[in-house]
């Protein structure tokens, strides 16, 4: 994130510098190019300081390689939504309680709100934007449309990402099993019975899921 308002630099300086005095020499020196440390110790630029707090992250998202700098506290969900503008992945609770943020990391369904972005270093992330093959929808996406497995659509990307894994895991053998293994994804509009029908249909369709 860029600094846009120089008017507040003054305020921030002191805490920033204190941080560097205390910690830069100890922990950060080993990780950081000498030029940056020097610049920051001279109390130079907030931009540099902010870069200093970030960690490199190389991750593949929807088959595209990203080389990023992110703060360690940034969740995968917020990285996707706020920095990469991949907003198909939704935030419903930010606490791992609703499943709206479900994405695939190395083929497993995870709650991206509970996943710090830096932990995906070297991994493959698939979001709802990466599920279709170009114009051709994934069979689960197609089934959601056919069975009207949604209303407002806000839980839908999470439901679909979850459903794809549910089928791949072998947890979609009958409607009751789908109900159980899809219960981490809340749909407040109450589309569950259609979602179960959609998942069973996609599973039975025999297409590559």
């Amino acid at each position: 994130m860029k600094e846009k308002n120089p008017g507040t630099e003054e305020n921030k300086g002191s805490s920033r510098r204190t941080f560097f005095k205390q910690s830069s020499a100890i922990a950060a020196l080993a990780l950081t190019p000498v030029s940056i440390v020097k610049a920051s110790e001279k109390g130079l630029d907030e931009k540099i300081a902010s870069a200093f707090e970030k960690m490199p992250l190389r991750v593949e998202i929807n088959s595209k390689a990203y080389s990023l700098e992110v703060e360690p506290r940034v969740t995968l969900l917020d990285l996707l939504r706020e920095q990469l503008h991949l907003t198909g992945t939704k935030k419903g609770c930010d606490h791992g309680q609703c499943g709206a943020c479900t994405v695939h990391v190395d083929g497993r369904r995870v709650n991206s709100c509970l996943t710090l972005a830096v932990t995906t270093e070297g991994k493959k992330v698939i979001t709802i934007e990466g599920l279709a093959k170009g114009e051709e929808l994934h069979p689960v996406q197609q089934a959601f449309i056919q069975f009207d497995g949604f209303q407002c659509g806000y839980c839908t990307p999470g439901q679909i990402m979850s459903a794809v894994c549910c089928i791949r895991e072998g947890h979609a053998n009958d409607p009751d099993q789908v109900r159980e293994f899809m219960s981490g994804n809340i749909c407040r509009c109450g589309a569950y019975s259609n979602i179960v029908d959609a998942v069973m249909h996609a599973k039975k369709g025999g297409q590559q899921i």
Binding site: K12, R81, G92, Q141, Q151, I186, R188, S193
Partner: protein, 737 residues
Amino acid sequence: MGQFFEDPLDRVDGRLKVTGAARYFAEYDLPDMTFAVMATSAITRGKILTIDTKSAERAPGVLDVLTYLNMPSIPGWQSDPSKPAPQAALGGERYRVLGSDQILFNGQPIALVVADSLERAQYAASLIKATYQKASFETDLEKNKDKGQTVRGPRGADYNRGDANAYKTAAVQLEQEYTIPIETHNPMELHGIIASWKGNDSITVYAKTQGVKSTQQSLMNAFKLDQKNVQVFSEFVGGGFGMALRTWPQEILVAAAAKKIGRPVKLVMSRDQMFTMVGYRPFSIQQIKLGSTKEGQLTGLVHEALSQTSSYEDFAEGTVNMSKFMYACDNVATKYRIVPLDIGVPIWMRGPGEATGAFALETAMDEMAYKLNMDPIALRLKNYTETDPERNRPYSSKYVKEAYQLGAEKIGWFKRNPAPRSMKDGEWLVGYGMSSGVFNASRGEANCRAVVKDDGTLLLQSAASDIGPGTGTAMVQIAHEVLGYPVDKISFELGNSTFPPAPSQGGSTTTSTVGSAVHIACSSLKNKIVNLLLEKGGSDYAGKTAADFTFSDGNVRAGNVSVSIASLLKQQNLPALEVTENSKAGPDQQKYSMYSFSIHFAEVRVHPKTGVVRVKRVVTVADSGKIISPKTAASQMIGGVTGGIGMALMEESVIDHRYGRFINNNFADYHVPVSADIPHIDTIFIDKPDPVINPMGAKGMGEIALIGFAAAVGNAVYHATGKRIRELPITPDKLIE
């Protein structure tokens, strides 16, 4: 209009929703975006003594910290000496966000931090420290039952028909109390807003709202702006269920912050804040008193409801309405009171008060049926009425008898053993229950712009909303029926305040109201096209009249001559033909009472040792007029049932009254139904057009899907166990033996 069922239309925005391309308010990326996070009060009532924002201000990336000490003044909140002062709330308070040091409820915002990234705003907000002077408070309705106040205005008046005391002398009497806790809408999408100013007098917001025009009006009022300088966009809304029917104070706060710092500000509230700041279904306590002859004729009905509101704003809803007109009974009295408490103000939650009231009335009817040793459907039929006894008018349409029958057949109602606790499935007790729901059907005023273009498309625009039911899908279907364009050539655009005005999406009126405007606009385009052909179409159309023209597949035909509307426009050198039409109800509507009805059936299993209730099967029948879009209509019904199962079995926002704080303000502790809780749901539509309400004959269904459903579950639990639970939710502890 005969083709509605032939080809159920998929949701027109389905593709956008399954690919993640549908954009909700928080997903618009404006240049120079900033992020807001609120810090909130840790006490329930009192005042802020000190508020320390220094470390927050000094935290990296922070652009501003607003508190009551530096909150910009909101022009619309200043009292206008030329106008009479607004009436104070019954609770005597007034709430302005960051307006003073006063704390009126727990979780009230005390500061807004704006920073250049979300994480920085979150961190800085955590650094805000306040000290308070605490005052005593009341958050418990059950402890304040005696403080009920009459709601002002005609809607708050007590209702009396015949003798209020008649039930006391009836052969069979019933007097019971029913309690429903606070329930929280909790749409999946978090609430919030993006506000962006151009200069000092022009604002654009991306909002989560059920009404772009109402949000526009709120912003115009707050900042004293011209309509043309306030733009509201809200194309996709991730559920609302009523909570987005108003502009909440924190939205105005964000707009004020954006103005102050001169950059766009985005606020996305946290889930716990969704419990305190954007309304809820109020806690309610209801009394039903019924009197009946031995044969089941109701001779007296009294319905009294007590409900909570905030100290700073009165909130009232139609909790006792259904009792006035659902059953034939000569002696009916209703009373409705509210108690101001130290908590945020409630707002309509799906089905709103009517759902609250229906739980009480429809449970009491079931209790009465058992007292009389009558079938619950037979009791309802005995008291069936073809005219509205409240207003002495016929119903515009009512197919409830048919609905009882269809639903009963489908679930196997008459095959059950009606004796309580008589049916078993292995270890599980089996129970069947039924109930009814009803909600006002109406047609409001709306406008629609319709444009046919020379590329063969039809564009419709109206400032309507879609919080999930599938507004666009229904509108496309209506336009297709009227103008015969293929559905994939029709687009309906909504959620934009610059479009022709339409009302908010609430009270199950969108299909009726906006649908009528679409219908009229398309009919008017049809006339334009016919006139164009009659005037300029040449010899092919000589001697033809309007009645000779038919429309299908984007073509217009008269006799043997058919021409595509697109090529007609090209021939005539017209890039487009366009109309904007206004639609409102005719005077005829005053002669009828218009309602949508639902009849619900539930089959449950109750485990006698653990008290676990599982809903095994559901049949729900809707008498909501002509069904415009069968697929999305069925989804609305199953969604309402799912909400009803939540209301019946699990939903309860719990306040620790020692502190006035919600203790289950998250999705792990506030239980909503998940997939494992929801069985297959059969939806049945009567699907007969209402002859009065609008050109399509469609009544609404968003509310009736939920109204009454909780009673069907409770009645089934009684049938299974012989235990009557009158306090929702029906959790295992209430059933365990």
